[in-house]
């Protein structure tokens, strides 16, 4: 709005009656009569020809909208703002702020000038000298003389530049980026900024030749910048799988991409934890191998069973000694003549083992909580319950998808989803009768009872099967059969569990098709719940068996190594079955459907099932880190192979899923599932093992101690004896870690913070409701004023 509209309001005497009508008592009658007026005018919508004269009436010099399109703007029937034949009204309406958002350069600049000024005022108070005496105290802060609404375009630009200079550089660049102007405008603004910042600077550069020192300095700067950009160009190449992920996103959309991103996140977690363990535990033990050598030779079967050659290797707990490596007292005892060049640093292996495992878990916990918080913040919006149809129409299209077949598929998916939503609305509007509702409830109850009983059945089956396998193992041990047979028997239990984990999800899918939930999203969450329940309960049973050692590893001397081997076998079997599932579920199905059924329908990529498999594998790794430190390396290898296998199978055999998935909400769900059942359960298991289980007598870094945790007590006592200055450490240990009061205090603080956040969210929801009411009222006011304006103009015309 660079000029005020050339129109002055002459209120003639005829409006006396209007003034009477405007009195507060009659406002109600006036309001209802406007409703009628609006309806009358909306039926006069055919006055198109008169409006074509008004297309130039959107008189604005810096207007960017194409002139022809504005004519059709007024030809919509059924709207509340039909004002045929009044150029002045149209001109006023055209310059309303709501119609110039994003279109008028001058309006944008004034808007951002005000925004920047508000930013500046928020941070600083004006000094007393700048206040004008005439203005009221509350208005003195505002520069009333420099109201941008009345300035010319160049003045507005310089005002905005002046305001931008007062911001910090990062705020300035953010503001510059977010101004919706074209690039040419932004460059002009930036030039203005430079001129204002240093009135001599830029011009001097352009005008005369600067000194040779200036030349070389700038060449150096430019050279550095080139190097920096070249480095940035290399960075995506350093990022793994950057191109592959782009390919997947382009063909299948963001929902399938989120599975692969989750895989990448898990890989990073494992690499991080593996590096910590490598540096502090594995490498050092490898440098100081134990006395007795490995008797067994390497056969290929070890890769599957984890036993044989691997039993006495770095892979398992039993290899690690409980001595202090490089102990100076030990070396002096041995009486070596040649003194070492540098004094050897003693390295307490048991302590290192315990602390490294603890630190890697703690770091993983912090990373998990941080990523959960981050993705939750992105996906949750207060008050965003209603409006799915509008969101489906505007936000469903994924602009990243660029291939023709995928675009066609996306169109079909959106069409199906819209039809489903409409059907849902229709069914919601005509509710079911009591009989039908009872029937639905009965079906749901039955489905849940069935799934829970299958879970129970699986758990009982696994329990009895493992007892049976234990008995068979004893027989074979007594019979002294070949080692191959003995180790082959060890593989049977992992095989059975993996088979159950692979087949049960398909059963649950069948159950879901029979159940037929109302909304597809609820269907997905129910499927995830059931699968997760099965996996976690079976794992719980196995953990109990490992810790109680009544059925598994009951005759081993070094039970930790035995448990580590069991976990290794479970991981390998899980990988083998994932491979088989991919081949049979995707490749074979596609071949069958193409050759036999001759349909173009390819199998869908089942995101929920694949993610749960990843979470299961990661739980196994975390469970086993205490017993087999190199298990993270095995998981890293497994994830790398899995990425390439899944990607190849996806590209060749699958199509994008038709169910709606919101990428950010999915990321939150995945990370939450990883954190809560999986990581929390593992942490409980490891804590219980460290605090209450007696380690084996003859092997491992904690031999002979009562529990693993006692090694810390031993060390604390040692510290007290050696240096009495560090008593605060023992005090810390005694009163904070051992005492349960601190834990209660922490939980209390956490509960208080949660309650506070809940109250804040509730308050924000209330404010949103109030603001919505206010907006609706303002809208009605606007319609009222527009009609009033229109009637005044018509009267003026009649009089003139």
């Amino acid at each position: 709005m660079s000029q005020p509209p050339p129109f002055t309001l002459h209120v003639s005497e005829d409006t006396e009656s209007d003034n009477q009508e405007l009195s507060p008592d009659n406002e109600g009658a006036l309001h209802t009569s406007f409703r009628q007026l609006i309806q009358e005018q909306s039926s006069l919508a055919e006055a198109g020809t008169e409006l074509e004269l008004q297309e130039r009436g959107r008189g604005h010099p810096a207007h960017l909208a194409p002139p022809d399109a504005s004519a059709s703007a007024w030809l919509e029937p059924g709207q509340g703002e039909q004002h045929p034949g009044d150029s002045t009204t149209l001109r006023i309406l055209a310059s309303m702020p709501s119609r110039t958002i994003g279109r008028s350069r001058g309006a944008i600049i004034s808007q951002y000038y005000n925004r920047t000024a508000r930013l500046r005022r928020r941070s600083s108070r004006p000094s007393l000298q700048q206040l004008s005496r005439a203005a009221r105290p509350s208005l003195r802060q505002y520069d009333l003389e420099t109201d941008p609404a009345r300035a010319t375009l160049e003045d507005k630009r310089s005002l905005l530049a002046k305001e931008l200079l007062s911001l910090s550089p990062s705020q300035r660049s953010h503001m510059l980026l977010s101004v919706p102007l074209s690039l040419a405008e932004k460059r002009a603004l930036r030039r203005e900024l430079n001129e204002q910042r240093s009135p001599l600077g830029l011009r001097a550069h352009h005008a005369a030749a600067p000194s040779p020192c200036g030349w070389s300095k700038d060449y150096v700067a430019l050279g550095c910048r080139h190097l920096w950009y070249r480095l940035l160009a290399l960075l995506p190449a350093a990022q793994p799988w950057h191109y592959a992920l782009k390919q997947i996103g382009g063909r299948f959309g963001s929902s399938v991409l989120s599975y692969f991103l989750f895989l990448k996140t898990l890989l990073m977690f494992n690499v991080f934890s593996f590096l910590i363990l490598l540096v502090f535990v594995v490498a050092l033990q490898a440098a100081y191998p134990p006395a007795k050598a490995n008797q067994q030779s390497f056969t290929g079967f070890e890769l599957l069973t984890g036993a044989g050659y691997f039993t006495h290797s770095l892979l398992y707990y039993g290899y690690y000694g409980n001595i202090t490596l490089n102990d100076p007292s030990a070396s002096s005892l041995s009486g070596s003549v040649a003194a070492p060049a540098a004094p050897p640093l003693p390295y307490n292996m048991p302590l290192a083992y315990l602390f490294t495992v603890g630190v890697s878990f703690f770091a993983t916990c912090i990373l998990l909580v941080y990523s959960m918080y981050h993705s939750f913040g992105e996906s949750y919006r207060v008050g965003s319950s209603a409006g799915d149809l509008a969101i489906k129409v505007f936000c469903a299209w994924d602009f990243k998808v660029i291939q023709r077949r995928s675009v066609k598929l996306q169109c079909e998916n959106i069409c199906t989803q819209l039809k489903e939503l409409l059907a849902e609305r229709r069914s919601r509007s005509c509710p079911l009768s009591l009989c039908q509702r009872l029937g639905r409830v009965a079906v749901l109850l039955l489905a849940w009872v069935l799934s829970l009983s299958t879970v129970l059945g699986c758990v009982v089956a696994v329990h009895y099967f493992s007892e049976h396998m234990h008995a068979v193992q004893q027989e074979h041990r007594a019979l002294a059969g070949s080692s191959w047979q003995r180790e082959g028997i060890l593989l049977v239990l992992p095989l059975t569990v993996s088979l159950l984990n692979t087949l049960m999800p398909h059963l649950y899918n069948l159950l879901a098709t029979w159940e037929r939930q109302d909304s597809p999203e609820v269907e997905v969450y129910v499927a995830i719940c059931r699968n997760l329940l099965l996996k976690m309960v079976v794992l719980g049973l196995l953990c109990y068996q490992w810790l109680s050692r009544r059925v598994v590893c009951s005759y081993e001397e070094c039970w930790e190594t035995c448990v580590g081997q069991d976990l290794y076998r479970f991981m390998v079997m899980d990988f083998v079955f994932t491979l088989l599932d991919t081949i049979f579920g995707e490749l074979v199905w596609r071949l069958i459907s193409e050759k036999r059924l001759k349909s173009k329908q390819r199998p869908e990529f089942d995101i929920a099932r694949n993610v749960l498999e990843l979470i299961y594998g990661q739980t196994l790794t975390w469970l086993g880190v205490l017993f087999a430190p190199l298990l993270s390396a095995v998981q890293v290898l497994k994830l790398l192979l899995l990425f390439y296998i899944k990607k190849t199978s996806l590209m060749q055999n699958c199509q994008a899923p038709s169910k709606p998935w919101q990428a950010s909400r999915m990321r939150t769900v995945f990370i939450t599932l990883l954190c809560f059942p999986s990581f929390l359960g593992t942490a409980v298991f490891i804590s219980y093992t460290i605090w209450s289980v007696k380690p084996s007598e003859t092997c491992g870094p904690f031999q002979g101690l009562e529990t693993i945790y006692k090694s810390v007590n031993v060390w604390a006592k040692l510290l007290e004896k050696s240096s009495p200055n560090i008593t605060w450490l023992t005090w810390l240990h005694q009163y904070l870690v051992e005492n349960t009061f601190f834990l209660f205090f922490l939980s209390g603080v956490l509960l208080a913070v949660t309650y506070f956040n809940i109250q804040v969210v509730r308050g924000q929801q209330r404010i949103i409701c109030l603001l919505k009411e206010q907006i609706a009222n303002e809208g009605e006011d606007k319609i009222f004023l527009i009609h009033k304006l229109h009637s005044i103009c018509k009267q003026k015309e009649r009089c003139a």
């Binding site: 703007a73 980026l177 690039l183 030749a209 149809l389 509008a390 969101i391 994924d398 169109c411 409409l422």
Partner: protein
């Protein structure tokens, strides 16, 4: 001679710096943009951009880019960034387009342009006719007329807050903020390398 070189050098440096500061995407993609713009019409687009030549490429060339070719909203996207409203883009407009549609552009800016894209008759409101056109493009006209009318009514009912029967920018922004990953992830694409171009030709 040294003076002239110096002047050209400074002009070019300032020009590139100005453009780069306004570009929200990855810096190295900016270097590719000029290459892509040039290869669309090598005879018309000059290699040297320091003098700000007034060259515009027509819409037909731009919507044949592989990033846009299959997109049902391609004409609207190009029109929203075109200064003259006809759909022809100068290099500045082209940079603007990739800047706003990159993943790192600020959300408010993306919301403004998303609104422009869906506003087919450019009256600064998304009215029922705009919605109908959007739906037809989204579903390739698979929905029946009755379903389209129903959907349009429900959308306006859900999203219109001030009761004028159409969606203004404030209504649109409020509705879009409920799907935060649309602006950040879905409403973005990258400028591809030649490899992407090649791969696309095969599907």
């Amino acid at each position: 001679l040294p003076c002239r070189i110096n002047k050209a050098f400074w002009q070019q440096r300032e020009c590139i710096q100005e453009c780069r500061d306004a570009f929200a995407g990855i810096r190295k993609n900016f270097l590719r943009l000029h290459g892509r713009y040039h290869e669309m019409a090598p005879n018309v687009v000059p290699m040297d951009y320091t003098k700000d030549p007034d060259v515009k490429l027509p819409m037909q060339l731009i919507i044949n880019m592989p990033e846009l070719k299959e997109n049902p909203f391609k004409e609207r996207i190009v029109e929203s960034f075109s200064e003259d409203g006809e759909g022809s883009l100068s290099f500045n407009d082209f940079v603007d387009m990739f800047s706003v549609l990159s993943e790192m552009a600020p959300r408010e800016l993306k919301a403004i342009y998303a609104f422009k894209i869906y506003d087919f008759n450019t009256d600064n409101f998304i009215c029922k006719a705009d919605l109908e056109k959007t739906l037809n493009k989204l579903t390739r006209e698979e929905l029946t007329a009755e379903e389209i009318t129903l959907v349009c009514e429900k959308v306006i009912e859900e999203a219109d807050m001030d009761g004028d029967g159409k969606l203004g920018f404030a209504d649109f922004e409020n509705m879009i903020s409920k799907a935060p990953d649309f602006l950040r992830y879905s409403l973005s694409f990258h400028i591809g390398t030649k490899i992407t171009v090649f791969a696309c030709k095969y599907t």
